[in-house]
């Protein structure tokens, strides 16, 4: 297990390096500098600015400098927010983003499992069909359609929750729910499928023959097996959660890194966009690693025999 972890971590290094390099050069080949859009400035001022941000050096020097900075957790100064560093901005935004994202994934897991179990235990009935139709709807609609409609219904219409903003627990309700919907839908489908596939397995029939109660069969025999596809789905879904959080943070005006990302993209703030991409990539790698570890614990076949 330690070996697997070590080799995975080792693989993460070239992956991260590739992403950083790609991000750096994609940004450098961009036509138009970050200072082009503003009021015309004299050549002198521009030269000074470029010197201050090291834009006058050859590209490979910039690259080396950037890489050395990233390793130490320094993504350079932000082009747009003049007096702040990108690392500082990301540190500010990381808390709200992780809070909303973490809560959304947990909620999706709970809602999805509950719906999936309900559907599977009522297989073929009205409840089953209704749940699965809802799940299809949740999967077909993107978050930038669902989230505004939720805000309109529960925020503007019913006035149950604040429409946007940040600060109190009530502010969390709509963004967390909106972000969790597509994942809850996927998890519900996977849970239902997993349970139905396991119900006909020989060990379940044996348990039934031994007169084990249906509840115990479900929780102790079927679910540990049926949960595997759900857990392996969580890994690749991390990228989707992050994409969703960009939209959710924009709609609900949450001061997270997703909003900095969009702001940076709109303002051509190269260092900020690169910094967020690198942080996102690192988060995806770490999350996939965690999922693999959990999968290994769950599946006896992948446990080492030693």
């Amino acid at each position: 297990m330690i070996g697997v972890l070590a080799s995975r971590l080792l693989w993460a290094i070239p992956t991260m390096l590739a992403i950083i390099t790609l991000a750096f050069f994609m940004m450098r080949i961009a036509p138009g500098g970050p200072f082009d859009g503003e009021r015309a400035m004299t050549a002198e001022v521009k030269a000074n600015l470029e010197r201050a941000y090291k834009l006058d050096k050859p590209v490979y020097v910039q690259y080396g400098h950037y890489l050395a900075g990233v390793v130490q957790g320094d993504f350079g100064p932000s082009f747009q927010y003049r007096d702040q560093s990108v690392s500082g901005l990301i540190r500010q935004g990381l808390g709200p983003s992780l809070l909303v994202g973490g809560l959304a994934v947990s909620l999706a897991f709970v809602m999805g499992m509950a719906l999936g179990i309900t559907a599977a235990t009522h297989q073929g009935g009205v409840v089953d069909r209704l749940t699965m139709a809802l799940a299809s709807l949740g999967l077909a609609l993107p978050s930038f359609v669902i989230a505004p409609l939720l805000a309109l219904a529960f925020g503007v219409g019913l006035r149950l929750f604040p429409v946007a903003g940040w600060g109190t627990a009530a502010h969390l309700a709509l963004p967390v729910f909106a972000l969790s919907i597509p994942y809850a839908a996927s998890i519900a489908r996977l849970t239902r499928g997993g349970i139905l596939a396991t119900t006909s397995a020989p060990f379940v029939r044996t348990a039934r023959a031994k007169n084990v109660s249906p509840a115990r069969i479900l929780w102790r025999h079927i679910l540990p097996q049926a949960i595997m596809p759900v857990v392996s789905y969580l890994g690749p879904s991390a990228a989707g959660v992050l994409t969703g959080s960009v939209v959710i943070e924009t709609i609900f005006q949450i001061p997270g890194i997703g909003r900095y990302f969009v702001q940076g993209a709109l303002n051509r703030d190269f260092t900020l966009v690169m910094g967020v991409v690198i942080v996102y990539a690192a988060m995806i790698i770490v999350f996939n690693l965690l999922v693999d570890l959990v999968l290994q614990r769950l599946d006896p076949r992948t446990r080492s025999t030693a």
Binding site: P142, V247, A265
Partner: protein
């Protein structure tokens, strides 16, 4: 279900492309004395007006043209790339195949939306670049499917016969392989149209997609969110259009896939 979805979707397409000619207002026609008018029959603004007094119904239909056109064009582009790439990899086999598909695997694992956004930042916001960005994301799955089909087609007698007759590889791929890929390609293309529509609207929603005076459902939803507290129709109209379209396309795609699965088994 699929039949109903097909006809509803056709109705949406016809409304978007023909509807604007039948309305008394054009999408760009402003009326600064009649901004934020709620939907009403009397004024003729069936879905109300926006911040500049433009008719929302006309705008939704015009935006639908953009969303649907981008969706179909991007699917076409990504299908062409995917079919060509997959057919070459599957037909060549061996090391070429291994290398080409390994590349697909690597690109597949990247968090794509972010690279699309970075791409849009770099190259600027132009409509044709949205096609490129979407095609760059969508061709991968098509390449995988086509590669698998081609690899099994390659073993068929008629391909061996073509080979024995001395036909060049390019001709065999074009004349014998590609026509036999039609069914899975068409089905997968059906599935990727809603994806393409979604990606375009996602970019436009963030302000990185189509720019004024053009608008798509995504950019209309973005504007609708800003004004939803006092003019909810600005959000409901484009969102409803998007919901209907995506649900129909998804139902159609699922039905097409079921049909393919049945044929395969």
């Amino acid at each position: 279900m699929p039949r109903a979805a097909f006809w509803i979707f056709m109705a949406v397409v016809i409304l978007c492309f023909v509807g604007p000619f039948l309305l008394p207002f054009s999408a760009g026609q402003m009326d600064l004395l009649d901004t934020y008018a709620p939907p009403s029959l009397a004024s003729g603004h069936l879905l109300g007006t926006d911040a500049l007094g433009r008719d929302v119904l006309a705008r939704v239909l015009e935006a639908g043209r953009v969303s649907l056109a981008v969706g179909f064009a991007a699917t076409l582009a990504s299908s062409l790339i995917g079919v060509f790439y997959g057919a070459v990899a599957g037909y060549r086999g061996g090391t070429t195949d291994q290398l080409m598909m390994r590349f697909v695997d690597v690109v597949y694992a990247l968090p794509f939306m972010f690279f699309v956004i970075v791409l849009m930042v770099i190259v600027g916001r132009q409509v044709w670049l949205i096609f490129v960005a979407i095609a760059a994301v969508e061709w991968l799955t098509m390449a995988r499917i086509v590669r698998g089909q081609t690899a099994s087609l390659r073993q068929m007698d008629f391909i061996k016969a073509a080979h024995a007759m001395g036909l060049r590889d390019g001709v065999i791929i074009r004349r014998h392989i590609v026509p036999n890929l039609a069914t899975p390609v068409v089905i997968f293309a059906t599935l990727s149209v809603p994806q393409a529509v979604m990606i375009e609207s996602f970019l436009s929603f963030l302000g990185l997609g189509v720019q004024e005076p053009l608008s798509s459902w995504g950019s209309m939803i973005q504007q609708g969110v800003a004004d939803m507290e006092f003019a909810p129709w600005l959000l409901i109209a484009p969102a409803a259009a998007m919901v209907v379209t995506l649900v129909c396309l998804t139902v159609l795609g699922d039905a097409a896939r079921d049909r393919l699965d049945k044929r395969a088994t």
